[in-house]
């Protein structure tokens, strides 16, 4: 079995080499290095607006409501305007202050999709501004002894590019490979040998993982040097690639050419890259995003590249591995059936 998987992998490497897939992979990685280093700005203005409507004349330090440098504070004249502003700017939140000076009542208006952590930060900021939390009982605790420099926007894009290229490279490549082989009819020639279909498919999966790791190495080493834990990075890329390739194999089994499969291919791409929105807009983090497997992959890539965010979450990886195995087994069954149907 191992011998057959190895020779299937070797066959894919030879075909890929002659099809210039390796050159393409390295070329894309180099292009992204140039893009990240020279075209994407290091920092961009990403302020969140805070709209306040107060019915009482109450002195508060509005600076306390601002969270670091990310919020601008604006006053509105009535509740309708507050609603209108929040409707127009989905990245904003609002504060409605009523009651009396001695007993103020504060309502926090949020969009609903915010991350739980962000909601807590908003609450703490407002409590702080009303003096409930003071310097005496409100301490900032830094888990690291050193205070890290802020992550540059261009570097922050790296996990997204690793997701879309290294992890999801399999999607388009698998469709191309499967359609070529369906056209050549080689899968039928293979099916009358002792080789098993799962060995045949695993050769493709391993090849695409290999390409993903090449992309990761070429892309990340020039950008991050060796301060990244590459063992963890390769592990996440390999598992992610295994998952996305297995899903793509299932989709590709239903079609015979690119034009037939275009809609499904694009839909699959869109679903799998959707967690990118939660990544770029932390306030947009609905539960549906978190059930997309690439969500875990993306945020684990971030954690590996920027250690300030936390550690690798092994439970996420286990889930991705199990999902990958399930999809791979389904694809093996489908390809066996496909051969018998044609």
């Amino acid at each position: 079995m191992i011998k057959r998987i190895f020779f299937n992998f070797l066959k894919e490497v030879k075909i890929g080499w002659r099809g210039n897939y390796f050159l393409l992979t390295v070329g894309i990685a180099v292009f992204y290095i140039v893009f990240i280093q020279f075209l994407l700005p290091g920092f961009i203005n990403q302020n969140t607006n805070v709209y306040i409507f107060t019915e009482i004349d109450f002195e508060i330090d509005y600076e306390d409501i601002r969270i670091e440098e990310f919020e601008n504070v604006f006053f509105v004249n009535d509740l309708d305007e507050l609603h209108s502003k929040l409707d127009k700017n989905r990245e904003s939140f609002g504060i409605y202050i009523s009651g009396t000076e001695s007993n103020p009542k504060v309502e926090l208006f949020i969009q609903g999709n915010e991350d739980e952590a962000l909601k807590e930060v908003y609450k703490i900021s407002i409590l702080n501004s009303f003096g409930v939390l003071s310097e005496n009982n409100f301490n900032k605790v830094y888990l690291n002894n050193k205070i890290s420099s802020p992550i540059k926007m261009n570097n922050y894009m790296v996990p997204i590019l690793l997701l879309t290229e290294a992890v999801m490279m399999g999607i388009i490549f698998v469709f191309t490979m499967i359609f070529t082989e369906k056209n050549e009819g080689t899968i039928y020639a293979y099916s009358v040998t002792p080789g098993k279909i799962f060995e045949y498919l695993l050769g493709k999966v391993l090849y695409l993982i290999f390409l993903g790791l090449i992309f990761t190495s070429v892309f990340c080493v020039p950008l991050f040097g060796f301060r990244v834990n590459y063992l963890e990075l390769f592990l996440v890329i390999a598992l992610g690639s295994f998952f996305s390739t297995s899903v793509s194999l299932i989709f590709a089994s239903f079609y015979d050419n690119i034009s037939q499969s275009l809609f499904s291919m694009l839909a699959l791409n869109l679903i799998l890259i959707a967690p990118m929105f939660s990544y770029l807009i932390p306030s947009f983090n609905p539960p549906i995003m978190r059930i997309i497997p690439t969500y875990g992959i993306l945020f684990n890539l971030r954690n590996i590249l920027f250690s300030d965010y936390g550690n690798l979450i092994y439970s996420d990886l286990l889930v991705i591995l199990l999902e990958g195995i399930v999809f791979f087994l389904i694809s093996s069954v489908l390809y066996n059936r496909m051969i018998k149907k044609k």
């Binding site: 030879k14 009819g185 040998t193 002792p194």
Partner: protein, 284 residues
């Protein structure tokens, strides 16, 4: 060697059986021709026997043992040459053979020897996608021999080759018979079947209509046929009629009385003539 009993097969959307209750057996070391026009059920039968299609109904025996599932032992023992040249176009001829060789559990033939055997040694390191159709067909044929198969399935392996390469492949097939390889030859080319096969089965609309050796068939049908060409309404018609069948004899009398006969020849029946006679269908 192989025995097939009451084999049926129906494709999903079809109402008719592609293979409709066929039974036959193939002896060890025999070349068994499976002949019929396109769509008759030849390739479907071969696909069932090679495990590509499932056995929906019927029984297949290999050396008296019923095959319940096509396992590795079976795939290690068979070789299949497909009608379509299904090869990896980006791999060289040698790499194609080496890849498939690596799938077997037992020692295999050297790819270089096989390429030499089918006269492709000069193109061994050329990408198979750049081969001509005839070269690709020879490569597919060579691939089917890589595991020294005990049973060889050939689907139109000689059809479409230029005369010299057709002779080469036919000689290899004859040599394989001498080595006791059992060969299941699917073709619509009756000349090839006549030359190579020990026995032939005629299949039409999923049913086997006749099984015998080409010699016996010709003895049964040959020398008792007459080919008449006559003019009818300005067109030239051709009929092959039996000299022993009463209905045919009556037809000969009718033609000689009512039509303008252009040529009339007694002849030895070819397999194609016999097929048309038995099934009423051209091979085309």
């Amino acid at each position: 060697m192989i025995e097939v009993k009451n084999l049926f097969f129906k494709y999903n959307k079809s109402h008719e059986y592609a293979v409709d209750g066929i039974s036959f057996d193939i002896n060890e070391g025999e070349i068994f021709g499976f002949l019929g026009p396109n769509g008759a059920g030849k390739s479907t039968t071969q696909k069932i026997l090679t495990g590509i299609l499932p056995v929906q109904d019927g029984e297949i025996y290999l050396r008296k043992e019923r095959i319940e599932k096509f396992n590795n032992d079976y795939f290690n023992a068979i070789g299949v040459s497909f009608e379509q040249p299904n090869i990896y176009g980006k791999l060289t001829g040698k790499e194609n053979l080496d890849f498939f060789a690596s799938m077997y559990d037992y020692p295999v033939q050297s790819s270089s020897n096989l390429l030499k055997m089918v006269d492709l040694d000069n193109a061994a390191n050329k990408k198979a996608g750049e081969y001509s159709k005839g070269m690709q067909q020879r490569l597919v044929f060579a691939r089917s021999l890589i595991n020294r198969p005990k049973i060889l399935f050939l689907d139109e392996s000689v059809s479409g080759l230029d005369p010299s390469n057709a002779v080469l492949i036919k000689e290899i097939i004859k040599e394989l018979r001498k080595q006791n390889t059992t060969i299941f030859l699917t073709t619509h080319n009756m000349t090839v079947a006549d030359e190579l096969c020990d026995r032939v089965a005629f299949i039409n609309s999923g049913k086997i209509v006749l099984i015998d050796s080409p010699r016996n068939l010709k003895l049964r049908y040959g020398r008792k046929l007459v080919k008449i060409e006559y003019e009818n309404d300005g067109c030239l018609n051709k009929e092959i009629l039996s000299l022993v069948d009463d209905k045919d004899k009556q037809r000969i009398v009718e033609i000689t009385k009512t039509k303008l006969i252009e040529t009339i020849h007694s002849q030895e029946a070819t397999l194609e003539d016999i097929f048309i006679k038995v099934t009423g269908r051209e091979l085309g």
